[in-house]
């Protein structure tokens, strides 16, 4: 009984001590962040930008959810943010965006979408909600274009035999399906007369086919050929076997991946002449892989790309939401930075990862998106997302 009492007291003291520590470091404005991926390089880069730069620069506190895979998880996380008196939610999780928006509207807290967009129908439903800030991120058309440009880059170099890693295509994840469809459409467009993927050559039909089957079929696409395809994230022996098989397929010239290219295929293509292209983020490990020739093409959402949606959210919290003339919320597209050689990558990484002066620094955000900024000016600012444009803005 005595021991039990001691243990209970100890536990309580431990918790109280722990509770005090973050309270001392808390910012004046709490913003909840819904996270779909807690361990990926891109997600960690985003978090580092918010926690190591933005939180200090703007005296805000970010409260992160756990990794969310379900709609009830998203709902629970938003409830937790409300309990913590968050003034706004920035969402990287897209299982049920309409439900998230409704929940925030009911609770009277602001809601913003980062690195993504609503569908046209969803935007029409929610654009006039008082607490819906808007969405800034790559639209599905942009995702399609990323895949298209990736495939086109290699086809234009004369390559004809490809492999493809489909990532979350079997799970019907929109982003990966559109990237994969973009790759296939590039092959159809550049595959010569009569080129088609499984008998279809229109983007909508190809996208529909991928949604329907949940996979991508290998075969000829005009005078090009998709020799191998692997999808999913099984991480078992059979899956690694398929990846090794794809990398070792005779005649394969380039492997196009919708994401995680280095993590899943890096060791299998290392030392070979197979080119590896991926959609990923700018990290030191990616830079090393590019230097050593393992990865050849990286299309990345730069870490600080979530700066504009943050400042828009903060402006809304401070009573100055950015609305267009009809009073509608933001719906702005944002694209990727593409590095095709080590020098370019190093240049992008230096700007993207800087903790003192990142791409979207406080100076830039305050200069181009101050409180009261008009929709048009803000949209023009967000549209200048390429590396060269941002560098020019900083000057």
């Amino acid at each position: 009984m005595k021991n039990l009492k001691r243990i209970l007291c100890l536990a309580l003291c431990l918790m109280l001590t722990l509770a005090c520590l973050p309270a001392m470091a808390a910012g004046s404005v709490k913003i909840g962040v819904l996270v779909a991926d807690a361990t990926g390089a891109e997600a960690l880069a985003f978090r580092a930008y918010y926690e190591k730069y933005i939180a200090k620069a703007y005296d805000v506190e970010f409260i992160y959810s756990e990794e969310l895979k379900t709609a009830d998880g998203e709902k629970d996380a938003i409830d937790n943010f409300i309990v913590n008196n968050c003034k706004a939610v920035i969402s990287f999780s897209s299982v049920d965006r309409p439900a998230q928006i409704e929940q925030c509207e009911t609770a009277g807290i602001y809601y913003a979408v980062a690195t993504g967009t609503l569908t046209d129908e969803e935007y029409e439903d929610f654009k006039n909600y008082e607490h819906y800030v808007g969405a800034i991120g790559p639209s599905l058309n942009t995702e399609f274009q990323v895949g298209y440009n990736m495939a086109a880059y290699y086809i234009d170099q004369g390559m004809t035999k490809f492999g493809m890693f489909g990532g979350a295509v079997p799970y019907r994840t929109d982003m990966h399906i559109y990237r994969a469809a973009g790759m296939l459409c590039a092959m159809v467009d550049k595959g010569g007369e009569g080129a088609a993927y499984q008998g279809v050559n229109k983007p909508d039909d190809i996208i529909g086919m991928i949604y329907g089957t949940g996979t991508i079929e290998t075969g000829k696409i005009g005078n090009l050929e998709l020799l191998a395809y692997v999808g999913g994230y099984d991480f078992d022996d059979a899956w690694f076997g398929k990846l090794a098989q794809m990398a070792g397929t005779e005649g394969i010239e380039a492997i196009l991946t919708v994401g995680s290219g280095v993590d899943v295929l890096g060791s299998f293509v290392a030392g070979s002449s197979v080119k590896l292209a991926t959609v990923d983020s700018f990290t030191p490990a990616m830079g090393e892989a590019m230097n050593s020739g393992i990865i050849d093409y990286v299309a990345g959402k730069f870490a600080t790309s979530i700066g504009p949606i943050f400042i828009a959210t903060l402006n809304a919290v401070n009573g100055q939401p950015i609305r267009n003339e009809e009073g509608c919320a933001l719906a702005l597209d944002q694209g990727y930075w593409v590095a095709t050689n080590a020098e370019q990558f190093a240049q992008y990484y230096a700007v993207d990862s800087s903790e003192e002066n990142p791409a979207y620094s406080k100076d830039i955000l305050d200069a181009y998106a101050p409180a009261g900024v008009s929709y048009e000016d803000f949209a023009a600012f967000v549209a200048q997302y390429s590396f060269e444009e941002i560098t020019a803005l900083k000057k």
Partner: protein, 326 residues
């Protein structure tokens, strides 16, 4: 009961892996695919044998004593993470990195066992807590970034058939030696078959349990390193994301138990792992969809268990039919 002859024992031991191989070769023939098409196929096969053998040993060394362990994957992940990070910082070669992974993993197993024996919490619960703790450790250790060794050709060059065979052979030998030819093993087997009596005869259960956790950890350290060397990276997992590896060990464990009637149980587990590796190879060669793989694997497990738990009844019926025909 008359013990079967050596030849008969060997034949019965090889029955399951040979039967699996035969069936898969027939399917491969029908599909116009070769099971062992090239070096990559052999590499996949031997890597799977190594992974499954070691994981099954790690699971069974505790499970046979009624101690469930969900933390195997977390131990593999954390030990590989620490070893990989040190390898990057100190430019350690593959064998030294492997040794560090094994030592770290053994230490993690010792901590796990220590918490179990001190708190007397049911082992399955301790393993859940330790799985969460080790996952969190690995994440905190690397800031969530994991380890990337993809440019280290020496580390990823470890992924050779010869190394997989060597690692598997050494692990099998050591485990057989430890559990069948040492006092530790004798005590272990006594505790498995009768815990109360064994303790009352003076067997030090706490020391034996700690030893089992250390062995289990060390084996998973090898698994973690093999995985990291294969992909050139170690990814992080949170919220029980690492526990899936444990479930791959059940079927080989039961197959090993059946084969163990004819030869040494640990060799039986290895042969069970060979059977599973052939199936994994077939999934890769036949490009089987993930959901189909899950269903087939689950069905195989259930069907084998149905046979195992009703073997006497099935064989009796079979013999009666034979008798009736005669």
């Amino acid at each position: 009961m008359k013990k079967p002859s050596l030849i008969k024992s060997l034949l019965l031991s090889l029955l399951i892996p040979c039967a699996v191989l035969l069936v898969l070769e027939i399917i491969a023939l029908a599909k116009g695919v070769r099971l062992f098409a090239n070096t990559d196929s052999w590499k996949l096969f031997f890597r799977a044998v190594a992974n499954v053998t070691l994981t099954t040993f790690a699971l069974s060394v505790n499970l046979d004593s009624g101690r469930f362990d969900f933390s195997l994957g977390a131990v593999a992940m954390l030990s590989a993470t620490i070893a990989g990070t040190l390898s990057q910082q100190w430019n350690m070669g593959p064998w030294l990195t492997l040794a560090v992974a094994v030592c770290v993993a053994a230490g993690l197993g010792l901590i796990h066992g220590g918490i179990y024996v001190l708190t007397r919490i049911p082992p399955i619960i301790v393993s859940l807590g330790m799985a969460l703790f080790y996952e969190g450790c690995a994440f905190a250790f690397t800031g969530g970034k994991g380890v990337s060794l993809v440019t280290r050709m020496d580390i990823i060059g470890f992924s050779q058939i010869g190394n997989y065979i060597l690692v598997t052979a050494v692990a099998v030998m050591l485990v057989v030696l430890l559990l069948d030819y040492t006092r530790f093993g004798a005590n272990y087997r006594a505790l498995v078959s009768g815990q109360k009596i064994a303790v009352e005869t003076g067997i030090h259960e706490v020391g034996n349990a700690l030893g089992c956790y250390v062995v289990s950890g060390a084996l998973m350290g090898v698994v973690g390193f093999i995985g990291m060397a294969n992909t050139g990276s170690q990814q992080m997992a949170l919220n029980f994301g690492s526990i899936g590896i444990m479930f791959t060990a059940f079927l080989p464990m039961f197959i090993g138990g059946w084969i163990g009637r004819y030869i040494n149980k640990r060799i039986g587990i290895m042969l069970g792992a060979v059977s599973m590796a052939l199936i994994s190879l077939a999934y890769a060669r036949f490009d089987t969809a993930s959901s189909v793989q899950s269903i087939i694997s689950a069905l195989l497990l259930v069907l084998f268990l149905i046979y195992l738990n009703n073997e006497f009844a099935i064989l009796s019926k079979f013999r009666k039919k034979q008798g009736a025909k005669a």
